[in-house]
């Protein structure tokens, strides 16, 4: 708690900060005392699932999917239709194919997640490294900014920005990106500090390497490892945050997202009569978030990121 307003171990704080933004997606999962030096079968299952979903989302326009926006009204029958041979996940109230919508929804949901965490990595990583490397005033100012951002409940900040600007894919991705700067930055800073005094850095400095060179050549590779693990967790958080925004009526305006799909089926009568409308996207969302969390967590243990983060 060197900077006075700190609230404890960075790992935990980061987790909680992210949890605030996501409403419960991630928490420090690295407490596993039995860190094994293997990634384990679970990791590979997770990665497989993530790959499948990402590929399906990326290739959606070329896959033989039904049009996600068409109304497949069957004569004489009132939608929603339950899962069947034609509609694997069933349809929603407007007879739109849920399987196809889930995949098309992944495009937006995952884009939001990806852009958000990329934003966090680039800006958070940069700021965190500057703070951790130069220390002094740089550190004070940047750390304070991080603390300011972390002391907002992140969802409130997200609501604020999406409400003030228009609700496009870009705004929402960037908003969540801004929110991921502080948690990622803190980890980058802590990691940088832990490496800044190591022999190889001191050696480089003695040899007259420029700050920029030291940061890029010596520190960045070491900072990237924990951040890579963090990226997976962060992506999960962003995907979930989009869902939270959807429930507040503030998600991306155009196109289907997982959050919006769940909301469509979450009314009590629909849950009673056609639970698949909500549960099809919930299951896919859950598996994806779980995989991202699990893979990120395993990576973190594998590289033993925990100590550096502290």
């Amino acid at each position: 708690m060197s900077d006075g307003v700190g609230v404890g171990p960075v790992g935990v704080e980061m987790a909680a900060g992210m949890e605030a933004s996501a409403g419960g997606a991630v928490v420090g999962l690295s407490q596993d005392e039995t860190t094994k030096r293997t990634l384990g079968i679970g990791f590979w299952i997770s990665i497989t699932w993530i790959t499948v979903i990402v590929l399906a989302a990326a290739l959606a326009p070329w896959l033989p999917l039904k049009d996600p926006d068409s109304n497949f009204i069957a004569a004489g029958e009132r939608p929603p239709y339950s899962p069947n041979g034609t509609h694997w996940f069933g349809t929603d109230q407007d007879a739109r194919d849920l399987f196809s919508r889930t995949i098309w929804g992944a495009r937006i949901s995952l884009t939001v997640g990806f852009v958000a965490i990329a934003c966090g990595m680039v800006f958070g990583g940069l700021l965190g490294m500057i703070a951790g490397y130069f220390r002094g005033w740089w550190d004070r100012v940047i750390s304070f900014v991080f603390v300011v951002f972390l002391s907002f409940p992140a969802l409130v900040l997200a609501i604020l920005i999406t409400a003030l600007l228009e609700r496009s894919l870009r705004t929402i991705s960037i908003t969540l990106g801004i929110l991921s700067i502080a948690p990622v930055g803190r980890v980058a800073r802590a990691t940088t500090i832990s490496f800044a005094d190591r022999e190889f850095v001191l050696a480089a400095r003695t040899l007259g390497a420029s700050h920029r060179r030291i940061m890029i050549k010596e520190l960045l590779p070491n900072v990237l490892i924990p951040m890579g693990a963090l990226a997976l967790l962060g992506m999960a958080v962003a995907v979930v945050a989009e869902g939270g925004l959807a429930f507040l009526g503030l998600s991306v305006e155009k196109g289907s997202t997982w959050g919006k799909m769940i909301l469509t089926g979450a009314g009590s009568r629909d849950l009673q009569k056609a639970p698949w409308i909500a549960f099809a996207p919930i299951i896919v969302l859950f598996l994806t978030v779980l995989s991202l969390n699990f893979a990120g967590d395993r990576l973190r243990s594998y590289f033993d990121v925990r100590e550096t983060a502290l």
Binding site: G4, V5, V12, A20, G23, A154, N293
Partner: protein, 319 residues
């Protein structure tokens, strides 16, 4: 003492920064005149339109530079005058609105934490004493699931199981009902927030407990013939309080965010629905007030956590 002064100063600086950020964002990104008047804000074609604009500007000090407006707003705010709402007919004043909504959100948070703590402690003790057994691993996997499940999805799931499949809990919160009925109505949302929090606490406590249980004084106590149960409760749990208090504070902050979404799903007219509604209307005074209150609560909780921490472990003050 000096440490606490510093600590307090930092907390105040933080609140100041947050308020400037929020106030600035609202005024720069949004257009307050538009928020007050709607499209009429750009109607300068008629005398009537121009008069309306001039009146609004005067009433809300919109012609003053931003810093002046900030100071005016801030100095009124600290005296408890949160201003009037932009929308509706300006009624009720923001402070009254919050007075009505806040207790419901507080009740939700308190119930969620109660549920979380009362679940987590026995759960952690139970699995720590069986560390690395099959049931322990299963319980760890369960915590993982609870934590990974997004709260809105958990809310839908809980609503589905507890209220629709089995009609145990009512679907709606009703402000006119007696206290205990309202508590009953809050159980589902509190569970939605409490279960993941319980999982977080359980993981932390369990890890701590396992470490503590290996330490000498515990082994000594065991050797002296203190029963297993007593060791767990009296000796092992105590050192874990440190980290527990920290994460309790942090989780409280996180739950506030979660409460916004959960209040929407379970239709509870608390602060969450108030801020969502205010944001849709771009009603800045309401948004500002709620953001500031929530942030202040967040900061205060952190200070309290530190305080309690230092009472338990005097070394903190030295650092």
């Amino acid at each position: 003492m000096r440490y606490w002064l510093q600590r307090l100063g930092a907390a105040l600086a933080l609140l100041l920064a947050v308020s400037m950020l929020t106030f600035g964002a609202m005024n720069l990104l949004g257009d307050p005149l538009f928020n007050i008047l709607g499209p009429a804000a750009s109607d300068t074609s008629t005398e009537e339109g121009r008069q309306i604009i001039a009146d609004a500007k005067a009433e809300y000090n919109l012609d003053e530079p931003l810093p002046v407006r900030y100071v005016k707003w801030g100095s009124a705010f600290v005296t408890g005058d949160f201003g009037v709402q932009f929308s509706v007919d300006g009624q009720p004043p923001v402070a009254d609105l919050i007075k009505e909504r806040l207790p419901r959100t507080l009740m939700l948070l308190i119930m969620a934490q109660l549920i979380a703590v009362t679940l987590a402690i026995p759960w952690a003790l139970w699995s720590a004493s069986r560390a690395d057994s099959v049931v322990d691993k299963m319980s760890t996997a369960t915590t993982f699931l609870f934590i990974a499940l997004p709260n809105f999805a958990l809310a839908v799931l809980i609503k589905y199981v507890l209220s629709i499949k089995f009609e145990i809990f009512p679907l709606i919160f009703n402000a006119a009902d007696p206290f205990w009925t309202r508590v009953w109505q809050m159980v589902m949302p509190a569970l939605t927030l409490g279960l993941p929090a319980a999982a977080v606490y359980q993981r932390l406590l369990r890890t701590d407990l396992i470490t503590t249980l290996q330490e000498d004084f515990i082994l000594t106590a065991r050797a002296k013939g203190v029963s297993r149960r007593n060791v767990l409760f009296k000796h092992a749990l105590r050192p874990s309080l440190f980290s527990f208090i920290t994460i309790f504070g942090i989780t409280t902050g996180a739950l506030i965010g979660g409460a916004l979404v959960v209040e929407q799903v379970f239709i509870i007219p608390g602060l969450g629905s108030a801020i969502v509604e205010a944001i849709l209307r771009e009603d800045f005074p309401v948004v500002l007030a709620i953001v500031m209150l929530v942030t202040a609560a967040f900061v205060v909780i952190n200070v309290i956590v530190d305080l309690v921490y230092s009472l338990i472990d005097p070394r903190v003050r030295a650092s």
